[in-house]
Symmetry: C2
Subunit: 257 residues, 2 copies
């Protein structure tokens, strides 16, 4: 039996939502291909299958709503065809099961729960620079963004960070504040880490202050995941894309003044 092959469908130039999937795969040492980055004209394939008004179905799989999507070309469906799925938390749950990054049968519901909560924060941060219209430019909603970003930084950050800190506290017997759920790295850790890392990029002043308030989460945990096996090498490689104008954007006026 040949190994399943994982193809990722996403925009080529940003970490974006796919970064959560990349981190899971890199941390577990699982090979993957990115269609838009590794294939000639790959992005037109992504657009054809995952974007536009009537995307093409692939191999009898249902139509996609939006990128990211995962295609498993061997062993995906068991009937010789590929399996194609979308939605970030769904892809994480699928790959988590295949790679063991979901913490196994006993932990997987908690791992998914923490990852979904981190992805909610991810969405709230995205909304902070696009509060009134996803399709319009930031400049067209700058006033509203100033108000929303303040709300996210002042009200939502403490709520989320406090929760993650309590998860570390809850799990401390198992692993001394290094992991959120259980005794090893799971996609709960990589997903929370990615959102925190994006927040450090987008709101450096705010995060500097919060680091003192949440030293476990934003100190030991954050640094620990960064240097975990597989991730350290990845984060130093060219595969790791810089933040730019995606979910996490650095508009100094939205940061703590």
């Amino acid at each position: 039996m040949s190994q399943p092959r994982y193809e990722l469908y996403y925009h080529p130039g940003i970490p974006g939502r796919l970064e959560h999937v990349r981190l899971l795969l890199e941390a577990s040492g699982t090979p993957y291909t990115e269609i838009a980055r590794d294939q000639k004209d790959g992005y037109s394939t992504v657009q054809k299958i995952c974007m536009g008004k009537a995307p093409e179905s692939v191999d009898g799989n249902p139509p996609m709503f939006a990128p990211p999507a995962l295609r498993v070309t061997n062993g995906g469906s068991g009937n010789g065809k590929s399996l194609m799925i979308s939605q970030t938390p769904n892809i994480l749950a699928y790959l988590g099961e295949k790679t063991g990054m979901d913490g196994g049968e006993e932990m997987k519901w908690w791992v998914q729960q923490v990852a979904l909560t981190a992805l909610d924060l991810n969405n709230e941060v995205h909304n902070s620079h696009h509060p009134v219209s996803i399709g319009a430019f930031y400049e067209q909603q700058r006033e509203e963004a100033l108000r929303n970003a303040k709300d996210v930084r002042e009200m939502r950050f403490p709520k989320y960070f406090g929760y993650f800190e309590r998860m570390l506290e809850w799990n401390k017997e198992a692993r001394q504040g290094k992991y959120l759920v259980g005794k090893g790295l799971t996609y709960a850790d990589t997903t929370v880490w990615q959102v925190l890392d994006g927040c450090f990029f987008a709101f450096p002043r705010e995060m500097e202050v919060r680091r003192k308030e949440f030293p476990g989460m934003l100190g030991e945990f954050y640094e620990g995941v960064k240097s975990a096996k597989g991730l350290k090498e990845y984060l130093a490689s060219e595969r790791r894309l810089p933040y730019s104008m995606g979910i996490f954007r650095h508009y100094p006026e939205l940061d703590r003044q």
Copy 2:
């Protein structure tokens, strides 16, 4: 072996996010208890365990971030203790697996994918009346809400409804436009249905126009799920709560003019 017992933790007076869970359980004929509605002082229990700055852990389960949460009091964890999990899509996936409402091994990733997409629309509709601050009143962000709701109705509705319509088209050989994934009712159907139903309440004028544009989705599918076994009885019962000031709110000024 006794049956697992499902306890739901949520606010007492609104359909809210828990409605997705209720529909899954009602459609599959699975008994459940709602702590805040069925127990004396139940809502203080919900608040103690799921809300506030430092919620209590139950039976060694991790702390909750926010309601809704599910507690499985028998057979949940296999070690005699209860299992407690939160996050709507996570609860749906767990109960989907236990009740068969996830379409089984072959379909479950697609079912989760569709449900997650419907829950994204759910969030966007919620944002439409609270675009700049989750914690502030609607009246404090009415101008922004007018702009956001227009965007949601004009740009996002066609995108989401078009996608659901394509899912029905994709699945039509299996079941003639009645279900989104596979040959029977899954939580993809109940979750999409609940969001559509909420939209009919919040934006009646807009939805009347869209019904002509998406007749499969907003006509046959919507009516079909409403009269499915288990759901028809539930929707006519007192257990079904009316919409009020939760996710779906009817502000006539936010509807199509």
